[in-house]
Symmetry: C2
Subunit: 180 residues, 2 copies
Amino acid sequence: MFGCLVAGRLVQAAPQQVAEDKFVFDLPEYENINHVVVFMLGTIPFPDGMGGSVYFCYPDQSGMAVWQLLGFVTNEKPSAIFKISGLKSGKGSQHPFGAMNLPQTPTVAQIGISVELLENLAQQTPVANAAVSSVDSFTEFTQKMLDNFYNFASSFAVTQAQMTPNPSEAFIPANVVLKW
Amino acid sequence: MFGCLVAGRLVQAAPQQVAEDKFVFDLPEYENINHVVVFMLGTIPFPDGMGGSVYFCYPDQSGMAVWQLLGFVTNEKPSAIFKISGLKSGKGSQHPFGAMNLPQTPTVAQIGISVELLENLAQQTPVANAAVSSVDSFTEFTQKMLDNFYNFASSFAVTQAQMTPNPSEAFIPANVVLKW
């Protein structure tokens, strides 16, 4: 039903089925992984009203599994690219793999897919910055970053009347930042 | 032998074989595509000493095919993620699909894979910024963008002595931009 591809490596199309509605791919040498693609093989769709939440699981320093929600795949959006290289030091989130007791090996992480009701998925919030593939997420991310920057920089904006005299300090007209 | 996945869509595992050593995937509605994953299915490896060059082909305004080299897949690196959304206005490059005369439809682009000697691949230079899966290209890109921005904004920097009197124009101290 699912495939998983680590950029640069061979595709995996045979997850371990750890429960009726839960599937796990091993990611060996996960410290070297930047991007992971999770996709439906196109053979079996989700049942009506169902979709899959996609988790990244890695062992923390004490060997305990830390799970992070990356995002979703559904019949309407049957594939997604996630960037996991920034997540390795992040905090864990709620996850439905609690009872699985997956064996943890220091260098092996997992991708877990949990088949759930779409309305449950809609209430879950993936970790920030994991989604690479959603429509223009890259552009949106950089746009958001720039908006944040403009708001940040503007909070320091002064007019000439408010300036304390300091002939050497350089100033940038605010409209230059805005236009960019 | 090859699979192709547009982020968000169903995987394609059946390219059109347009020559003994050339394979083509159609990408409908390519204007909406950001990322494409190209991978070997794992069934048949490249012959010894061979690999695949991966091209993106799209119709220019007059309907002519423009080909751009995205990168490579090999037995050692059997998958790659490419960002094509920034390439649509780029120039074409040399390519080995010249004689194929692929039909061009305004909204359909192609991924072409050409099986070639590894030593030939080593002499080809992919277009800039297409490879997503190399180490931290995302971070590097945003860092580069911010560097560009600082250089851009700094070119407008003035000191108070240079300012033309205009009490209403807002200014941002340059060190705020740099610190951010």
